[in-house]
């Protein structure tokens, strides 16, 4: 598993990435979208302890038309003392993946199943305007181990109307092959991520956040299972060519995927959140570019409206478009003198694509009248249609991601 980042997939990463993002949004309570002018939902009237405790459990399911299925149970919790300014949080998630995608079938392999476990641990201390956070994460699956450590500092300015953040995160990934000891085969990837953010309170009901992310990656990012069909120069290979057609047209050599050993990625994100009388609108725009010349834009909108005191519901829409990396080719060819393309990939997430997501969210406060958010039952459903514009095997994919969660706040 690799942490969710743009245009990066190790083994059918897209669904897992979607689950991660989804789970993150749910488990963190999607606080920004719940109302920028609201106080902490964990603060109960008449509460005698300074401690706020939050616990959540979620079960998410992913399925797509490329025969990938993921079940993701997870739990998370946080304890904080808002007066003292500290908090600790943690989470644990399991991904149970079953896949028979076209990428697997095209190499005459069978369906595989795999379990991934991941956990996070974090702490924050912010006794006054200046604060610091530490974060860590570990993800383990049979052929991939990833850990991350990092931290950030924040400072409130202008009477808390402006908050600045600087963060740094280091990630170490080790990729292997299932059933093969890491001592026999493994590749590593080091990642240094820098984050700078500014969050502004525009007025009593509106906030604006700007975030700059820069990530520097060094190491092997190629998937150790992905072999790239090569064709003779001049061979016509149509978009979406079937497995049988590719196998009949390709040359005998089918080399392992090969990617540049370094990559620099930058993203600029903006989030605008506005609380109306009985609803909340959140708009996100993210533009992305990297040294492989992949550029992307992602627009996300969520609208939540209150149905009484206990129910909050609303739609979600997302649009994403990207070009392919500069070495992207639908059909790589052998070069002069039996030479090979220096870089070659079959990773759809590195090719040109567009996708659109539509979904709906429902949150029901089950707590007592005085504190309806003491217990919150949530439902989410998102459907995504992806169009792959210059690929072999697959030209489109439809996926569904649904989840149910239960949160408790004391």
């Amino acid at each position: 598993m690799r942490w969710p980042r743009e245009g990066r997939v190790v083994r059918d990463r897209a669904p897992r990435r979607a689950v991660w993002v989804f789970a993150f949004l749910v488990l963190t309570g999607d606080a920004a979208a719940q109302g920028v002018a609201e106080s902490s939902p964990a603060s109960s009237p008449g509460q005698t302890s300074n401690l706020d405790i939050h616990a959540a459990s979620e079960f998410a399911s992913y399925a797509d038309t490329d025969h990938v299925f993921v079940q993701t149970p997870s739990i998370s919790g946080a304890v904080s003392d808002p007066l003292a300014g500290w908090s600790v949080d943690g989470s644990y998630v399991v991904d149970v993946v079953s896949a028979a995608s076209v990428d697997i079938v095209s190499t005459a392999s069978r369906r595989w199943e795999e379990v991934r476990q991941a956990g996070t641990l974090g702490a924050t201390y912010k006794p006054n305007d200046l604060g610091a956070s530490a974060a860590s994460a570990l993800s383990v699956e049979p052929d991939y181990v990833s850990w991350m450590v990092g931290g950030s500092v924040t400072e409130d300015l202008l009477q808390k109307n402006l908050t600045l953040l600087l963060g740094y995160f280091h990630t170490h990934d080790t990729a292997g092959r299932t059933g093969t000891p890491f001592s026999v085969f493994s590749e590593t990837l080091e990642s240094e991520a820098f984050k700078a953010a500014a969050t502004m309170v525009v007025n009593r009901t509106t906030t604006l956040a700007l975030v700059v992310d820069s990530v520097f990656e060094n190491g092997n990012q190629a998937k150790p299972y992905r072999y790239i069909p090569l064709f003779a120069p001049g061979t016509s290979v149509p978009i979406g060519a079937s497995i049988d057609l590719v196998n009949s047209l390709r040359e005998a050599p089918r080399p392992l995927e090969q990617l540049p050993s370094s990559r620099q990625r930058d993203a600029l994100s903006a989030r605008l959140a506005h609380r109306f009388h009985r609803s909340t609108l959140r708009l996100d725009e993210r533009v992305y570019g990297d040294s492989w010349l992949l550029f992307a834009t992602t627009t996300d909108a969520r609208y939540f409206f209150d149905l009484g005191r206990r129910v909050e519901t609303g739609p979600h829409a997302r649009l994403h478009a990207q070009n392919g990396v500069d070495f992207w080719q639908r059909a790589y060819t052998l070069g002069p003198g039996f030479s090979y393309p220096e870089y070659r990939t079959g990773d759809r997430e590195l090719g040109p694509l567009v996708n659109a997501t539509g979904g709906w969210n429902l949150r029901i406060g089950l707590g007592p009248v005085a504190d309806t958010n003491a217990w919150v039952l949530g439902f989410d459903a998102n459907f995504t249609y992806s169009r792959f514009l210059d690929d072999l095997y697959l030209t489109q994919r439809t996926s569904a991601l649904v989840g149910v969660s239960l949160e408790a706040n004391w």
């Binding site: 190499t107 600045l164 299932t178 700059v212 992310d213 080399p255 039996f338 030479s339 220096e342 870089y343």
Partner: protein
């Protein structure tokens, strides 16, 4: 406010750092030549691979990343059939060669330049040290392994290849395929 100013400077510096990183030249995606083992001495290795790995439910299948052509499995010419012609053709050996060297061309170049043959997934899978759907095929140091490794290292050992093939084919009753691997003129085999 001084702390705030410092954070603001760092923040703007971080943003500038991010924008600078975009100016790094991208990869050019050109072709890269690779150093490969000798093609002219590959035939005995191709014969070994065809009898050990080239069955139609193994690597004698066009869907496999590593395709192995030969008499007992995948034929190169659509007009050819299993065991007809009886022996591997030179075109089949060439296709198998292309497939073998083209599987991991960058690593193959390292091995040809004196690197450890175990860098190659193919070697690890055959030895059983790496996961392989077909299981362990041979053992490091046995005739089959020496046949492949010696060729990779530029010191082909036809004797080991021949004995490895012989041990893979039932000797009694005498298998006509043995003629292909023992004869200097396989086209005479029937």
């Amino acid at each position: 406010m001084k702390r705030g100013a410092a954070v603001a400077v760092l923040l703007s510096g971080g943003a500038a750092f991010g924008s600078l990183s975009c100016s790094v030249p991208p990869s050019d995606g050109t072709y890269t030549p690779a150093a490969f083992p000798d093609e002219t001495t590959f035939s005995p290795v191709a014969e070994l691979l065809s009898v050990r790995c080239g069955a139609i439910d193994c690597h004698g299948n066009t869907a496999r990343n590593l395709r192995i052509y030969g008499s007992t499995g995948l034929r190169w010419l659509s007009s050819d059939q299993p065991f007809y012609p009886l022996c591997n053709t030179s075109a089949e050996d060439l296709q198998t060669y292309d497939s073998v060297v083209g599987l991991e061309p960058e690593r193959m170049s390292v091995v040809v330049s004196g690197g450890d043959p175990a860098l190659l997934t193919m070697v690890d899978k055959a030895r059983g040290t790496a996961a392989h759907k077909g299981g362990q095929i041979w053992t490091a140091g046995d005739d089959s392994d020496v046949c492949l490794i010696s060729w990779l290292q530029g010191q082909p050992n036809g004797g080991d290849c021949q004995s490895a093939v012989a041990s893979a084919i039932p000797a009694s009753p005498r298998n006509p395929l043995l003629c292909c691997f023992e004869s200097n003129n396989p086209t005479s085999c029937q």
